[in-house]
């Protein structure tokens, strides 16, 4: 007995001290790092969530402020240098004042820049008041006109003269958070039902699977419309927001439930699960301590891939007019306002700006989710 111990000690000495052994999460991180696109997408996603969190700080114009004089004003250019009358050049970020002219022939408004009118812009300027993160009252904004009484439309104005850039920034909060809330709801329902299905099998499994198949076979848009129609119109915005989230999460949970079920089924017969039961663990403990950590990384990857679906779902619902309603600002409601030919021809920025934002968010979330999914199983090739 002793001779075996000393010899294997010596062998393990050489083993431990020279070879670096990584724990399971470290392996996942290392594999993720290799996926460059996913890493950069992750950075962008974090930026987008920061925008959502610090929205008012970043938005130069109050989103509900209407201005009749500036309806459908195109985006303003930013200039860096001012030419003085004495011919000198001075560095001053600014935009040019805009005059509205009426074209009596085509009966259209056009906006013309007025070179003489300078609107100086700067960083950390004073503007409208708000509460940072809902707590700290502030009135400083990252970027905007140095004179609080002036306004600048960096991405143009909509039909009520409201600043599109600011609205997109604040719409980020709603659209991205619906994604998260929706995914959380999906997670709970999906893991619960999928887990029950996979762990117990038998008739429970059969019942839940048939239920899932039924839900999936119902055409989604009519289903959503029906549910949205059931929302009373006089409900406060927060409640409708929550209900829209629940509706949206109904698409996510079925695929998650199936994945969880599959994982449970394959894990159920693993030796270490049997060993855990033989160690005296109850079913609940086995699930919590052994099975859930085994597929945690897969779940995280699935959830990350579900978020863009949620965002697109909310966007579609609001675009169709059955999701969030004005005056709530989300990317979907912004797109709704671009929902006519006149807007697209005369004010394409109403469509392009929010649309680009959606594309960027969805793409980066998808790349991030791909990277996470590949990294989730570090031992797979």
């Amino acid at each position: 007995m002793t001779e075996t111990r000393t010899a294997s000690d010596a062998a393990t000495d050489e083993f431990d001290d020279t070879v670096r052994i990584l724990g399971p999460w470290a392996l996942v991180w290392r594999k993720f790092r290799r996926h460059r696109l996913a890493m950069w997408s992750g950075v962008v996603v974090i930026l987008i969530y920061l925008i959502a969190a610090f929205g008012e700080f970043l938005a130069p114009v109050q989103i509900h402020e209407t201005s009749v004089r500036n309806t459908f004003q195109p985006p303003q250019r930013i200039y860096l240098f001012v030419d003085g009358e004495d011919g000198t050049r001075r560095f001053q970020i600014h935009a040019r004042g805009v005059k509205m002219e009426l074209d009596r022939v085509a009966l259209r408004r056009t906006f013309v820049e007025d070179e003489s009118k300078i609107v100086p812009l700067g960083f950390f300027v004073r503007g409208y008041e708000y509460k940072l993160l809902g707590l700290i009252p502030m009135n400083v904004h990252l970027f905007g006109p140095t004179n609080p009484r002036e306004t600048v439309y960096l991405l143009g104005a909509d039909r009520l003269g409201r600043d599109v850039l600011s609205r997109i920034i604040l719409g980020t909060r709603v659209s991205m958070s619906i994604g998260l809330v929706g995914v959380a709801v999906s997670l709970v329902i999906g893991v619960l039902l999928g887990g029950l299905s996979g762990y117990y099998g038998g008739w429970i499994d059969g019942l839940i699977q048939r239920f899932i198949e039924f839900i999936r076979s119902v055409p989604t848009i009519p289903l959503w419309m029906g549910l949205a129609a059931a929302i009373p119109l006089d409900w406060p915005p927060l409640q409708t927001y929550f209900v829209v989230t629940v509706i949206v999460s109904m698409i996510g949970w079925t695929s998650l439930a199936r994945e969880v079920r599959g994982k449970f089924l394959s894990l159920r017969n693993e030796d270490y699960i049997v060993a855990a039961r033989l160690d005296g663990l109850s079913d609940g403990e086995v699930i919590r301590k052994h099975m859930v950590p085994a597929f945690m990384s897969h779940i995280i990857a699935s959830l990350t891939l579900a978020v863009p679906l949620m965002i697109l779902a909310e966007t579609s619902l609001s675009f169709l007019g059955i999701g969030l309603q004005p005056p709530q600002v989300s990317w979907g409601t912004l797109l709704k306002e671009a929902q006519n030919i006149r807007s697209i021809i005369e004010a394409p920025w109403l469509l392009i700006a929010p649309g680009t934002m959606i594309v960027v968010a969805v793409l980066t979330l998808n790349f991030l989710g791909d990277g996470l999914r590949d990294a989730a199983d570090p031992h797979a090739q």
Partner: protein
């Protein structure tokens, strides 16, 4: 079915006069360049595969025997690469090809792979495509390497299935791999490998996943086919019993190197290398082992990233020489009827 009659080779370790080796491996090194470091899976292997002989490569997991076989056919996956050495194959028409230097996807190598040198693996399910009928897979191989019509190829395939002992070969031609039992699948894989009548069959643990009774049948089959097709067999295994049953020559590997090589009788009855000795002693034998405890080899195989300096076996060797075994790797040199790489028998090192 006949058993091959054992004939001790005339001048062991050297080929009988006039017999050119089929494959000659010299100084082969296949390394894996992983994120954690370089794994020297094969670290300087010299081997000679002669025509019409059964050579067994004996070793435990991690000794590099499978990687060495894959290096011959240039099917080593990234991040593995042959970094040194030569694998010279002598074709029937007298040409020599250094498989180590050729590009793995070149026409030369592809012509040899599957036709002159064929390989069968431990897990038949991983080399038989699961969604194609086995007969069709064999036909595909035949058409790739031989000039025949499709109908002829089908006839040949059914003949091969029959030859390997699959009952109802014409019916089984249309079977999918999952419809066959383990032993049958292995036979189907052998049929596929032999369909082009290779000169060398490399069998990588062909019977490890099979029952003992099926194993005996498959080993007999391989021996019969070897005689019938006039081919060489390189059989890789960790099972000493299998080696004793079928081998004419044995090469024992440890941590990427051949530590002992020779005819099977000399190696089993008079092992020279401490590893071979210890291995033979540690295996229980029915009716022979009487001791209550098996004389086990101490310690474990070192981690591939933590190779000991000098002779890799020195951490477990009961005859280790202080100050000598850690300084340099011993070279594989003839010692009596066999070749041994050990400082107990020779001072030769690999740097010489």
């Amino acid at each position: 079915m006949t058993q091959p009659t054992p004939t001790p080779s005339s001048a062991p370790g050297t080929a009988p006069a006039g017999e050119t080796p089929l494959v000659e491996i010299a100084g082969l090194k296949t390394h894996f360049f992983t994120e954690d470091g370089v794994v020297k899976a094969v670290d300087g292997v010299d081997l000679t595969i002669r025509p019409n002989r059964t050579l067994c490569i004996l070793g435990e997991s991690g000794c590099g025997k499978s990687i060495m076989a894959r290096s011959i056919l240039r099917i080593v996956d990234a991040p593995g690469r042959i970094v040194d050495g030569s694998i010279v194959y002598r074709a029937e028409d007298g040409r020599s090809v250094d498989l180590a230097k050729a590009r793995p996807t070149s026409r030369e190598v592809r012509q040899i792979r599957g036709k002159d040198i064929a390989m069968i693996f431990q897990e038949p399910m991983s080399s038989l495509g699961p969604i194609q009928k086995i007969g069709h897979q064999i036909v595909e191989t035949i058409l790739l390497h031989r000039r025949m019509s499709k109908a002829e190829a089908k006839r040949t395939a059914i003949e091969m299935l029959d030859r390997v002992g699959i009952p109802n070969p014409a019916q089984r031609f249309e079977a999918y791999p999952f419809e066959l039992s383990g032993g049958m699948r292995q036979r189907a894989m052998i049929a596929m490998a032999l369909s082009c009548q290779p000169r060398l069959l490399i069998a990588d643990e062909p019977t490890t996943a099979l029952d003992v009774t099926t194993q005996a049948q498959i080993l007999d089959l391989i021996a019969d086919l070897k005689d019938e097709f006039d081919m060489s067999v390189m059989l890789i295994t960790h099972d000493l019993g299998v080696v004793a049953e079928v081998a004419e020559e044995v090469a024992v590997m440890y941590m990427g190197r051949v530590v002992e090589e020779g005819d099977v009788y000399s190696v089993f009855e008079n092992p020279q290398h401490p590893y071979t000795r210890a291995l033979l002693k540690s295996v229980p034998r029915i009716g022979v082992t009487t001791a209550a405890r098996l004389p086990a080899i101490e310690g474990m195989v070192p981690h591939p990233l933590a190779r000991p300096s000098g002779c890799p076996f020195r951490t477990r060797c009961e005859s280790v020489i202080e100050g000598v075994c850690s300084k340099a790797q011993p070279a594989l040199v003839p010692v009596g009827p066999t070749k041994v790489a050990c400082f107990l028998h020779s001072d030769a090192t690999t740097d010489d």
